[in-house]
Point group: none
Chain length 418, copies 2
């Protein structure tokens, strides 16, 4: 079964609202093995809405509409539903009761505008809305489902969970095909190099699908497979995962919704290790990210943002002569910073970064994007050099992920070489 | 002129990626008086892409496509462009040079997959991409513009700003009506309180429009007006701005694209002041944000992320007894942290935060969301108490903006009281 998602609202077109509703609906449908063919966002405009209803109803078995159900003059979705299905509005007693109860709860008098929201298209089953005044509409016609929900995210989500998803899955029970997905999260390897490592994709996949999803933190590999049962699908996914791991395992830091920081946090917590950070170029981003996780005080001891040379010397015991001789952005200073933060904090691990984030600060020998990352624990002190790009904020992000991945690799005994 | 935005990528349909690209493109087009008719998100599927190209090209004068330009097998947008316009691929020397340069800079060998990205449709002018390997495409045919960009947000944004928006506005110059917008950025006041302060909106606006755009950092006020000339529009905007400033001036920290950190950075730089940060609950977020701006070493001296009590005592000279008596999250400790970071760093301003970000850590007396922010300069030391919400990451953000706004207000001599 194919689905078509229609989001209605001027604010979506002019970018004032980001279409998170469509992402949510898409995720919940694909969780339930429904393929989404298209997401369309259109204006609160009768012709645009009716045209889109037509395309959607002609091409897909499931149409999910959200937005334009409010009580004011610019909300015209319900009128369009009536026109599209050539039906009429009738008052629904249960919906009216819900509206009156909501107003009573808020100690307000029901307005005529809100009372009119109890009028629903005759062809539809109203979807009750305990979170707001606009009911949804469930239309089951011509072996197709046409569903209309409010645009307010938490009202829409409530209807999806309480009514739409259960009703759709009930109707789809006997299709016999299961779609399963698995994501492998990689970092420290560019998309094209990863693709080359994986070699012949068709041979690897044997009919399943693989998508490369690049972001600043790394490339996600999403494997999708169809089978007759969940077991069969999962065993195929595991087989493909094993083949990928054999070819690029050390770049894979996690699965599905893992983030690099949660993986590192878990490793530190499990081994009862404390980490401390000494950051120059990232300005506190590594400490900030490590403390985004609840319970971070179990593994994060302290951080120093040693922006000035004085702070490197005073707080991290960096040798003034080393700065004078090699510069603050150098292998030597990164090493001393890492050793210094470990020693002064009494932590198990010290991680340090120094670099040139740009756009200014480059010299003839040291380009924008040059970064040294130092790592020290009880057994080893090491520094790795990176050259990233020209964009300051992206360079901070890239340095963050490279530093976290260095901790991950050291803890797991994975070589730091690319 | 009407525009149609097409976003290509399976990840958009299954909700793995939220379509922020379309919101960005929509905002930038409507800023430039271009009406967006539709946003469509579709799969990496040849038939779906060609069908959508057809609808878009038939109904709108401007078609903006993003996504599916990567080097791997699942990226098929370029192939679809070639088929749709019945053209062919030819190698572009300038694009190839850019790709080779990017790889050289990163000390990597150019792969064949990446080299192939220098092949561009003959009908198009390539849009150079200094941020990545995939060039964009600009096609000007049948009095229509068909533009294709990568899906990686910062690459797409770079092309929009450097090439697409300037090229489109140049083509649209002579329409006769000017729409101008101005944004006033506020912080530290809720949307409803701000609305009450502004009073009768119709009287204030006299036919212009005002939108309240709330976000974590504060509420943006966007004023929009139409006029026959830029001068007329601007003089109306200025009149409305003055009325708003008279009613809520001290909550307005900037205009248009100003951010609170750039405003604070500018104030510090102009006055030749150095700041240092002592952060507990924000974990480095304030230092990170202050150092997102190029040239931050002119005003940012150092930061301490004093997560453990030991680090507060050792690095910030906080009295152990004060922690024992009042707790680490207390007015007394915030004050000592601010005084300590100012003194130990030798900076002109010390700012310190301590709080409970949640979800754990609350006590009967101290709820999740409780934050103390301390500020010290040569003349004054002060602490302000806040109680934010339950969400850890939002609490970190709210603390950040409250701390930056405290610095802004102190520097401008604005009272800290709400």
């Amino acid at each position: 079964m194919n689905a078509y998602i229609i989001s209605i609202g001027d604010e979506l077109l002019i970018g004032q609202t980001i279409n998170t509703n469509a992402a949510y609906i898409g995720e919940r449908l694909s969780d339930n093995n429904i393929t989404i063919k298209k997401v369309a966002a259109i204006a609160d405009d009768e012709k645009a809405i009716l045209d889109e209803f037509k395309i959607a109803y002609e091409t897909c078995e499931i149409v999910l509409v959200s937005g334009g159900l409010g009580p004011t003059h610019d909300d015209i979705t319900r009128t369009c539903v009536v026109k599209f299905f050539e039906t009429e509005l009738i008052e629904n007693a249960e919906v009216l009761e819900n509206i009156e109860m909501l107003f009573k709860k808020r100690n307000r008098k029901v307005t005529e505008l809100n009372k009119a929201q109890a009028l629903v298209p005759k062809i539809s089953t109203p979807i009750m809305n305990p979170r707001g005044t606009a009911p949804g509409m469930w239309i089951d016609k011509d072996d197709k489902f046409f569903v209309v929900m409010p645009g307010v995210p938490y009202e829409m989500k409530g209807m999806m969970e309480d009514f739409v998803i259960p009703s759709l899955t009930e109707s789809l029970k006997n299709s016999g095909i299961v779609i399963q997905r698995r994501i492998l999260q990689t970092t420290g390897i560019p998309e094209s190099t990863l693709a080359e490592r994986l070699g012949n994709i068709d041979e690897l996949l044997q009919g399943s699908q693989l998508a490369f999803l690049p972001s600043i933190g790394g490339v996600k590999l999403r494997i999708t497979t169809q089978a007759k049962s969940e077991e069969e699908a999962n065993s195929r996914l595991t087989e493909i995962e094993q083949k990928i791991r054999a070819k690029a395992g050390r770049f894979i830091f996690g699965k599905d919704n893992d983030s690099l920081e949660t993986v590192v946090a878990k490793l530190l917590t499990e081994r009862d290790l404390k980490i401390a950070t000494a950051e120059s170029c990232t300005g506190g981003l590594i400490a900030d990210t490590l403390t985004n996780i609840s319970g971070s005080s179990n593994y994060f001891e302290r951080g120093i943002v040693s922006y000035s040379n004085a702070s490197k010397v005073e707080l991290l015991r960096v040798d003034e002569d080393a700065i004078a001789e090699h510069g603050a952005v150098s292998l030597e200073v990164a090493m001393q910073m890492a050793a210094g933060i470990k020693a002064t904090s009494g932590s198990d691990i010290g991680i340090a970064v120094t670099g040139i984030m740009g756009p200014t600060g480059a010299t003839t020998e040291k380009p924008v994007g040059l970064v040294y990352i130092g790592y020290c624990d009880d057994n080893v002190c090491t520094v790795k050099k990176f050259v990233f790009g020209n964009e300051r904020l992206l360079n901070k992000q890239r340095t963050l992920y490279a530093a976290l991945d260095m901790v991950r690799k050291q803890l797991l005994g994975i070589s730091l070489d690319a």
